[in-house]
C-alpha cells in the first residue's frame, strides 16, 4: 500500500443549520479544496459519510448529489454508513483506494442534519442503529445503552455509582471547557465553566446518564482532501500522514461479552496500532467518541491508554487534560463541539490536523505540537468502530 496524506481540511460551524445537507457538505468540501489549493478536476472520487439522510431530508444516495452539487463530473461518489462512525468509515475506505493506487486524490468526509429532526424523532432514528429485532421493541436509546454500561462499569470495578457519576461528570466539564473555546463548536462561548454538580444535577435522560452527560444533536459537515503521499508536497508543506487505520464490527448488545470492554473497539484499535507500528505510549493526543461521558472512559481503556477501570480516576485527576498523560478531546469532543453523526469522524481528523499545524484555538492548542494523534469513532451500540492514526511524518518502513 502507498502512504496517504491529508492535504486539505474543511469544517462547517456545528449546531443548528438552515442550509440543507448537500450545501453543508459542499461548504466543507470547498474549504478543504481551497485549503489544499486543488481544483475540481483534481478530484477522482468522493466518499461521504451520512447516517440518516433519508429520515432527515428524504434523501437517499446523497453522495452522488454532492458530487453533482460540486460539479465534480461523473466521478464515483459513494455514501458510507456506519451510524455515528460513518465519516471514519468513509475516510478509511477512501484512504484504502488511494493507498491501493486506484486514485491519487479524493474527497472524504461526512454530513448530518440531526438537530433539525427534534429530540423525539432524532432519538427514534438514532435508535435504528440499535439491533432492531431485539432492542427495538424494548425502546432502548443510546443514552440508555451507555447508562447500562455505566451501571456495569460501577459494578465491575467496584466504584460506587455516585462516585462514578462525579468522575464521569469531569469528562463533560473538561470537554465543555474546550468546546467553549472552539469557534466552530455548537457550545462555543457556552458552558465553559461547567461544574461537576451541574452535570450531576441536570435531569436524567436514562439513569444514571443526565442531559449534561450527553453530546447534543447537531447539524454540520466536515471534509478532507486525501492525496497519495508521494504527491502531497506538490500541494502543501505540511501534509499530515495517515499512518494506521482500523475498523471493527460488533453485534446486538445481548451478544457482547462485556459492555464495558467492546471487542469491536479493542480489535479496531489494535489493527490501527499495528499498521502504524506505534503503541499508545507514542500517541500525543486523542479525539475520541465521547457521545456520553462514560463512553470516553470506555474508549480510553479499550484503546489501551489506561488499564481497565482506571480511566475514571485518571480523568478526574486531569490526566486527559493539556499537560496530563494524554490530552483527550481538546476540540471539545462530541459533548462540547457537537455531534452531526455522519460528519463526526472527519471532524475528529480535522481537529487532529489543526493541532499538528499549531492552528487549534487558543487554550486548546497542545504545546509542543503533537507528532502523533489518533481518532476513535463509534457507531451504534459498539456496532461499528473506527480508528485512524495520524502523524506529521511518514510511516517508518
Amino acid at each position: 500500500m502507498r502512504d496517504v496524506a491529508i492535504i486539505g481540511i474543511g469544517h462547517t460551524k456545528f449546531g443548528r443549520a438552515t442550509k440543507m445537507s448537500h450545501e453543508l457538505f459542499s461548504d466543507a468540501t470547498l474549504q478543504a479544496m481551497d485549503d489544499a489549493g486543488v481544483g475540481l478536476k483534481d478530484i477522482e472520487a468522493l466518499f461521504q459519510g451520512a447516517a440518516l439522510p433519508g429520515f432527515e431530508e428524504g434523501q437517499v444516495m446523497p453522495a452522488a448529489f454532492s458530487a453533482a452539487d460540486l460539479n465534480l463530473g461523473p466521478i464515483p461518489a459513494t455514501r458510507c454508513e456506519g451510524a455515528c462512525a460513518s465519516a471514519s468509515v468513509a475516510i478509511r475506505d477512501a484512504a484504502m483506494w488511494v493507498g491501493a493506487g486506484e486514485y491519487d486524490m479524493v474527497i472524504a468526509g461526512g454530513v448530518e442534519k440531526a438537530l433539525s429532526m427534534g429530540t423525539s424523532y432524532a432519538s427514534r432514528t438514532f435508535a435504528m442503529a440499535c439491533h432492531a429485532p431485539t432492542e427495538g421493541p424494548v425502546g432502548l436509546t443510546f443514552p440508555g445503552v451507555f447508562a447500562m454500561a455505566a451501571r456495569l462499569y460501577s459494578r465491575n470495578y467496584d466504584i460506587p455509582l455516585d462516585t462514578l457519576r462525579e468522575k464521569m461528570a469531569s469528562v463533560s466539564v473538561k470537554n465543555h471547557r474546550h468546546g467553549a473555546l472552539n469557534p466552530l463548536a455548537q457550545f462555543y462561548k457556552k458552558l465553559g465553566d461547567l461544574k461537576v454538580e451541574d452535570v450531576i444535577n441536570s435531569k436524567f435522560v436514562a439513569d444514571p446518564i443526565t442531559l449534561l452527560d450527553c453530546c447534543p444533536f447537531s447539524d454540520g459537515a466536515s471534509a478532507l482532501v486525501l492525496c497519495a503521499a508521494e504527491k502531497a508536497r506538490k500541494y502543501t508543506d505540511e501534509p499530515i500522514y495517515i499512518l494506521g487505520m482500523g475498523q471493527g464490527s460488533g453485534g446486538p448488545l445481548s451478544k457482547m461479552e462485556d459492555l464495558t470492554k467492546p471487542v469491536s473497539r479493542i480489535s479496531s484499535a489494535k489493527t490501527a496500532f499495528k499498521q502504524a507500528g506505534l503503541s499508545p505510549e507514542d500517541i500525543d493526543m486523542l479525539e475520541v467518541h465521547d457521545c456520553f461521558t462514560i463512553a470516553e472512559l470506555i474508549a480510553l481503556e479499550s484503546m489501551g491508554f489506561f488499564n481497565w477501570g482506571e480511566a475514571a480516576d485518571a480523568t478526574a485527576d486531569g490526566q486527559t487534560e493539556i499537560g496530563g498523560k494524554i490530552p483527550v478531546n481538546m476540540s471539545g469532543g462530541l459533548i462540547g463541539k457537537g455531534h452531526p453523526i455522519g460528519a463526526t469522524g472527519a471532524s475528529q481528523v480535522y481537529w487532529v490536523v489543526k493541532q499538528m499545524r499549531g492552528e487549534a484555538p487558543e487554550g486548546n492548542q497542545i504545546d509542543p505540537v503533537p507528532e502523533y494523534g489518533m481518532t476513535d469513532t463509534l457507531g451504534g451500540d459498539f456496532g461499528t468502530l473506527c480508528h485512524i492514526i495520524l502523524g506529521r511524518s511518514k510511516r517508518k518502513k
Binding site: 431485539t134 427495538g136 425502546g139
Partner: protein
C-alpha cells in the same frame, strides 16, 4: 436446484417472538459445543456450529444491568419511565428485555439479582419497524 434453495434458519425471529408471547424463551442447542444460542441465529453464537436444534430456556437468569428511560424515542412516550435490562440466562446467552419493577425505586442494588421471565411486551411499532415486535419481560425473584 434444491441445494441452491436451502435455508439455514432453524428458528425464525417471528417464531422466537411467538414463543415469548406464549411465555416460552426459545433458543437453539448446538450439536458441536452443546451451548445455547438465544435470540436465534443461523449459526451457533459461541462456535459458529451449523448443527442446531430448537430448545426452550428456563427464562431464569441474573440481571446484568439496566437503565430507566426518561427521554423516549418517538412512539414510546406512553411507556415512560420504563426499564430496559440485560439478563444473563442460566443457560448462558444474554437477552435484552424489559424489567417489570417500580422505576422510581430501581437502584444499583438490583444488579446481579436473580430474575425470571414473567411475560412479553409487544410494541405497536411504526412505519419503520416492519410491524410489531415483542421482547421478554423479567421480574426480580425476591
Amino acid at each position: 436446484m434444491e441445494k441452491e434453495l436451502r435455508e439455514y434458519t432453524v428458528l425464525t425471529h417471528a417464531e422466537y417472538e411467538e414463543g415469548i408471547k406464549e411465555g416460552k424463551l426459545l433458543g437453539l442447542r448446538c450439536a458441536s459445543c452443546e451451548r445455547i444460542t438465544c435470540h436465534p441465529m443461523p449459526v451457533c453464537q459461541w462456535c459458529g456450529g451449523r448443527s442446531l436444534e430448537r430448545t426452550e430456556l428456563s427464562g431464569e437468569g441474573e440481571l446484568t444491568t439496566f437503565t430507566v428511560i426518561r427521554v423516549p424515542p418517538e412512539g414510546f412516550e406512553d411507556d415512560v419511565p420504563y426499564i430496559p435490562c440485560l439478563v444473563k440466562t442460566k443457560e448462558g446467552p444474554c437477552v435484552v428485555g424489559r424489567l417489570d419493577y417500580d422505576a422510581e425505586r430501581a437502584s444499583q442494588v438490583l444488579i446481579s439479582k436473580q430474575v425470571k421471565m414473567s411475560g412479553a411486551y409487544t410494541h405497536k411499532g411504526d412505519k419503520f419497524s416492519g410491524g410489531t415486535h415483542t421482547c421478554p419481560v423479567f421480574v426480580v425473584v425476591e
